[in-house]
């Protein structure tokens, strides 16, 4: 299957390891991954902050770049939700490619029908279901089904897992006090698990929680779950 990777703007500049991981997982499963270099950003930050007109060129660019592919994989629940939920309303011709755009766990579990991707990750991991994946895409336990098949992994449950971490895009900057209060509680719950690694489907949320964990020198690493699924050695 010929699968296009939409890396997302944040991952391209700050988290290339996540894109490399997605590429490795899909190649290991025998698929061809394409990375059309004319891709930019999904436009979510603009659209959700009240700048729809400024988001529209990005929406149209996404359609131009990806419309020819059977499937587009996105290592972000939030960007996938922007494309699937908002694109058809913002730009009706986007409906077709939006329906063929999948968050990584949807592509693996629903489209490719695999849960064991041959990974090996001997560490203690807790998983935070990020909001847009959880409530807009209804990812359910797909990411966890994939993680449970990883050799050596010890998955521990996160209390209040479904509560937002307080990132919310520009919310973190516009409402720093409330955002920080939510972050503090989330970091406390992560700390209580005793996990070495916090995994999630969105590097933007992980930058927020991970940034808080680092600030408190918790020793917990924030890692996109794709990087766990790609790991085959003793450690990632």
């Amino acid at each position: 299957m010929r699968i296009a990777l939409f890396i997302t703007c944040v991952n391209d500049v700050a988290y290339p390891a996540t894109g490399i991981a997605v590429t490795r997982i899909l190649r290991r499963l025998g698929h061809i991954v394409d990375f059309p270099t004319r891709q930019t950003c999904c436009g979510q930050m603009h659209a959700n902050t009240g700048y729809r007109a400024e988001a529209m060129p990005m929406v149209r660019n996404y359609v131009d770049v990806f419309d020819g592919y059977d499937a587009v994989v996105v290592p972000s629940g939030s960007c996938t939700a922007m494309i699937r939920d908002q694109y058809p309303r913002l730009h009706p011709p986007a409906a077709s490619v939006a329906a063929r755009t999948y968050e990584l766990s949807e592509l693996l579990v629903d489209v490719l029908g695999v849960t064991d991707v041959g990974a090996d990750f001997p560490e203690t991991v807790t998983y935070h279901p990020t909001c847009h994946g959880l409530r807009m895409l209804r990812l359910g336990d797909r990411p966890l089904r994939l993680l449970r098949q990883v050799r050596g992994i010890r998955l521990v449950e996160l209390a209040d897992a479904e509560e937002c971490c307080g990132f919310g895009g520009t919310f973190a900057l516009k409402n720093p006090d409330v955002s920080t209060a939510m972050l503090t509680d989330k970091c406390a719950r992560v700390g209580e698990t005793g996990a070495q690694v916090l995994a999630a489907a969105d590097n933007s949320c992980l930058a927020h929680i991970g940034g808080g964990l680092d600030r408190h020198r918790s020793g917990v690493r924030a890692v996109h779950y794709a990087e766990i699924l790609a790991a085959t050695g003793a450690a990632s």
Partner: protein, 481 residues
């Protein structure tokens, strides 16, 4: 009847005085308040989840509730006239109020006409919205709240911070302190046991019920085909007010209409489970005009617009008028739990307030509220009438006045990101520009992150480290394949 033209925006207690982020700051710093809110919202949302999970057709009920409300919104003028005709035929007098000031004036005049100088009140959001207590006080009429939580708030010279639980920001020790300070007849050794506090309030209120000649209420539902008003409550204090006084004045937002009596079948299942987490609320009072010799003989209904017509005119924002004031969205909202209800500056706090208040006043008057959300979507999931709150928040952000610097930044980012060539160049520039700094931080601290940045980036770095661009962007890695 000569029907007035509604003004574009509403008045009353629906405007933020301070922007939400500023207003939230003291609440976030108040650890007692945070603990009170955390404990209370966690308890209610747990109860709600249990009683909702046991209903096999909950999703169908939500769909029905949403559809009935959408139907009401489509033919509201017709249903209002039908309600007026039915209620009038049953012996009630119907009044129309364009805005908060007009509604208050009508209630004051009706009370004065009875010669009474005090009223007892049933818990009501509409009267809080129009600031009726203040208007009555200015006219020399004392208004006594009889709902336990509203009484606590009133005695504490405070304002409600939650739709269902107006005193949610107090714990029981704080409530005992308010009672001891403001109830002249309370025992000196009053304990903070809930039953003792309720007993003190009961003794205090009983005298009011027996002497009051006028009661003021709101209504949860107004039934167009019968002219019936419905109040749903837990304590029975509402029932006292609705049955004992001679005169009953009910202030009802125009969106409270339901087409037929049988529609209550849906809403009397949705409301208690969503709000108090009960299968059925203890007291449901219904009255249709006047019943000779039984209950109030002088019955008035004040139908209030106060900005609702403007909400109705916006097809995207309109579902905010479907709200049945259950507060399920408040109880699941992580922002509400940290900021508390007062930060929203309106009688309608939480997610529903963030979409309702700005629409009632016009977005420019409440510009910070549509941004008082992470768009996590927990509110939409629990809403019994399926109001897509995140979608409406984004819609209102579109109308909000944008700060100049933000607009400029967003414009530049859009200009860069709309062009594959410019975006690729920007990525190279970001990687190269931050490269030496990232390498330095990596050597110094073991991570490519920054800990302290000047304003406005300090809004981020005050509580979290900021990741720097990676040594190689993804597309550079791809290009080397």
């Amino acid at each position: 009847m000569n029907r007035p033209v509604a003004p574009a925006t509403g008045g009353g207690r629906i405007r933020t005085r301070l922007p939400f982020p500023t207003a939230a700051r003291p609440a976030v710093a108040d650890t007692q308040l945070r603990a009170n809110l955390h404990r209370a919202t966690r308890t209610i949302r747990g109860k709600r989840a249990r009683v909702v999970d046991e209903v096999p057709d909950w999703e169908a009920l939500r769909d029905a509730g949403s559809a009935i409300k959408a139907d009401v919104q489509r033919r509201l003028p017709e249903l209002l006239e039908q309600f007026e005709a039915s209620a009038t035929a049953a012996g009630a007098t119907v009044h129309w109020a364009r805005d908060a000031a007009e509604a208050c004036r009508i209630v004051v005049e009706l009370t004065r006409a009875t010669g009474a100088d005090e009223v007892v009140k049933v818990k009501s959001m509409a009267t809080q919205e129009i600031e009726l207590n203040e208007a009555l006080e200015a006219a020399g009429i004392a208004a006594y709240e009889t709902d336990l939580a509203e009484l606590i708030v009133q005695l504490g010279d405070d304002t409600p911070s939650h739709i269902l639980v107006p005193a949610i920001h107090y714990n029981r020790a704080q409530i005992r302190e308010i009672f001891q300070r403001r109830m002249p007849d309370v025992p000196a050794d009053l304990s903070d046991e809930p039953s003792a506090l309720a007993e003190a309030a009961r003794a205090h209120l009983r005298r009011r019920f027996l002497s009051a000649r006028v009661a003021v209420s709101g209504a949860n539902f107004a039934i167009a085909d019968t002219g019936t008003l419905v109040v749903v409550e837990s304590e029975g204090n509402g029932r006292m007010c609705l049955t004992l006084p001679e005169t009953l004045i009910s202030v009802v937002g125009v969106e409270k209409l339901l087409p037929t009596f049988t529609d209550l079948e849906v809403f009397l299942q949705l409301l208690p489970r969503s709000s108090t987490g009960e299968r059925m609320n203890p007291y449901t009072s219904m009255w249709t005009g006047v019943t000779p010799g039984d209950g109030p003989q002088d019955v008035h209904v004040v139908l209030v617009d106060n900005g609702r017509s403007a909400v109705l005119a916006d097809p995207v924002g309109r579902p905010a008028l479907s709200c049945i004031r259950c507060s399920a969205c408040l109880n699941v909202c992580p922002v509400y739990e940290r900021a508390g209800g007062h930060a929203y500056g309106s009688v309608y706090p939480g997610p529903i307030g963030a979409i309702l208040s700005p629409q009632l006043t016009g977005v420019a008057d409440n510009a910070s509220l549509p941004y008082a959300s992470t768009l996590c979507g927990a509110c939409y999931d629990v809403c019994p009438v399926k109001i897509n709150i995140p979608e409406i928040l984004v819609h209102l952000r579109q109308q909000a006045p944008h700060p100049l610097a933000e607009r400029a930044t967003m414009g530049v980012l859009s200009w860069v990101m709309r062009s594959p060539r410019r975006w690729a160049a920007a990525l190279r520039l970001a990687r190269a520009g931050a490269g030496p700094l990232g390498a330095y931080r990596q050597r110094r601290t073991g991570a490519r992150t920054l800990r302290r940045l000047p304003w406005p980036a300090s809004a981020w770095t005050r509580s979290r480290d900021l990741p720097l661009p990676a040594p190689q962007t993804f597309r550079e890695w791809w290009g080397k394949q």
